[in-house]
Assembly symmetry: C2
Homo-oligomer: 337 residues x 2
DNA sequence: GTGAAAGCGCTAACAG
DNA sequence: CTGTTAGCGCTTTCAC
């Protein structure tokens, strides 16, 4: 067992209050006393118990960040941004991975609530649960990350996925593609659904354009590979000339499928490909992949700002919603030299 | 403020002890009482305070995992493995990113110690600090991840980096390459140093073979790009025909540099390239990159096992050291069709 | 089965 | 400046 303030106080020949003062407001302690306490701490190897401190304080200095997939560089970049911003205010970020599993998501939310985290940053799978609403009503600051709040109830920082989806599809249309396969899913992930709707919307205003949905179950490289194969299988029937993947991980997988096909399919000649997120790996792919860039670190930093604003004592101000506009990045996979 | 057991007890007309029993050993509570308590909890929206619980228990159920770089898929895979294994024993993993900064590493170690984490999994930057030794001596279970313990002091789970480095270099030698640039750094990261030593060792037994060191400051794509450019600049003087990058992120960067060079350099024809880790992106690169595969999730899972074994009450058993052997994965970047 | 009471380690008044 | 004391919310004896 580690020593406590009491043992330090005893050895130093002072009271626990003085030890506490030494720890938190050293200026109120006389130099001589300071030395005695310091010596006692050193010989005992005393380490203040943060848990007790927190219990006293009522709230911790840790912010929980629950993401859909830590394996996705998009989210680690968001986390980095959040971490930096949080550090400025003396908070730290605890990263948790829901892995797109509503049960695990819930478990982490509960964990953070009963750990009395300073707040919750959540990239929710599906619509925010009733449980999340309760958590918030009990006083926990919550900010949705990477997607808007359906009914405006939660503060949120997101990127306009509808616009991004439109942008990506329009880019494919602009380079003359008409038969587009949208690869992504599940559509219960709002971001995916919005990107898809945006793509469909773009196609509506172009003659002969169509967007077909290939809905998968995860936003991973392997799932992209699987869906890519499905698209290839369909090629006899529908001669797709463009693929829009809901994120870069999927795009990387599709690309792999296209390359490994029995009769390899040329990108962008036969099929042009565009992803989403612009993770750094997109630019280093077999064929550098065009993408839609989101300000990842900024998203994380802004989310922390909104969260800290929520933490105010009195009435909760109306929820803020920050929406960034994404940016098209054209590369070789859509014909850029 | 959230309600506490006391308020629940009052509303239910029972004592706090009974509420506690209801929470932890419901079988010792009469059915009728159970109902009353349940109702009180529901109407009050009571959420047990995990912090108080921990204070009482003395130790938390969270294991801290401090990695060199969360942005590196290698580490998120290790984390995933650790998470799964920890969950089986009822523990959860808190991911922290040192970003190869000894100061931040230390801050997180301190944070976890004063939060009385159940244990520490650490992928250390440089040699384990004196502070880490103190932390351990005060009773905190510590396991080194992804590198062996220099003096055998800490339990560890690692992969034989010397063998891996040898393997990678030997592969380049086997396909006829002789002038090899080793890209990686800083060498204060033991894994990098070992891989380099392994490569040098392999070259020693081949006539005319050499390995030159291009030491960088980070294991990132961008740093790989920068070092790649350095190698290219040197090409007039030394006609390198092989590059061994200390990890796949660097390799991806080198590849980018090679492709974007004023006069693009063909891979593997002019320069063969091999990385390390075999992250999933390696296979989807411009030229699929050969690599040295480590059992990432297994590393994480094993680390948790060792940690839980350390947690025993009495004498600490002698430290266990698990060393896995890596595996060569040959792809197009070293000439595999 | 249930209640009363004693802390876990710390901080924040409040006296002195 | 320093000591004393009363909790933060919970669990855990120990009686009843």
């Amino acid at each position: 067992m580690l020593p406590s303030v009491r043992e330090v106080a005893e050895l130093a020949g002072v009271s626990v209050g003085t030890v506490s003062n030494y720890l938190n407001r050293p200026d109120r302690v006389a130099q001589a006393t300071r030395d005695k306490v310091a010596r006692a701490i050193a010989t005992l190897g005393f380490v203040p118990n943060g848990v007790a401190r927190q219990l006293r304080a009522g709230r911790s200095m840790s912010i929980g960040l629950v993401v859909l997939d830590v394996g996705n560089p998009f989210f680690t970049d968001v986390a980095r941004g959040a971490e930096m911003q949080a550090a400025k205010a003396g908070f730290n970020i605890l990263l948790a991975n829901s892995g797109q599993d509503p049960v695990r998501e819930q478990e982490y939310l509960d964990l953070f609530e009963n750990q009395r985290a300073a707040g919750l940053l959540l990239s929710p799978f599906g619509d925010p649960s009733a449980r999340l609403r309760e958590i918030r009503e009990r006083g926990m600051p919550v900010v949705l990350v990477d997607r808007g709040s359906p009914d405006g109830a939660y503060p949120s920082v997101s990127v306009d996925d509808f616009a991004g989806g439109r942008m990506a599809a329009q880019h494919l249309l602009d380079i003359g593609r008409r038969k587009i396969a949208f690869v992504g899913g599940p559509l219960t992930i709002r971001q995916v659904a919005d990107r898809f709707r945006g793509a469909v919307d773009a196609a509506r205003s172009t003659d002969g354009a169509r967007v077909d949905l290939y809905e998968g179950t995860a936003l991973s490289v392997d799932e992209g590979d699987r869906l890519g194969r499905e698209v290839i299988r369909e090629l006899g029937t529908t001669k797709y000339d463009g693929v829009f993947a809901a994120n870069d991980l999927l795009a990387l997988g599709v690309l792999r499928a296209l390359y490994n096909a029995e009769r390899p399919i040329a990108v962008p000649e036969e099929i042009a490909l565009i992803g989403y997120d612009d993770i750094s790996f997109a630019a280093s792919a077999v064929v550098p992949i065009s993408s839609v860039r989101q300000p990842r670190e900024l998203i994380g930093a802004t989310a922390v700002d909104l969260l800290l604003a929520e933490r105010g004592e009195g009435e909760r101000p109306p929820s803020q919603h920050v929406v960034y506009v994404p940016e098209l990045v054209a590369r070789a996979s859509t014909g850029r030299p």
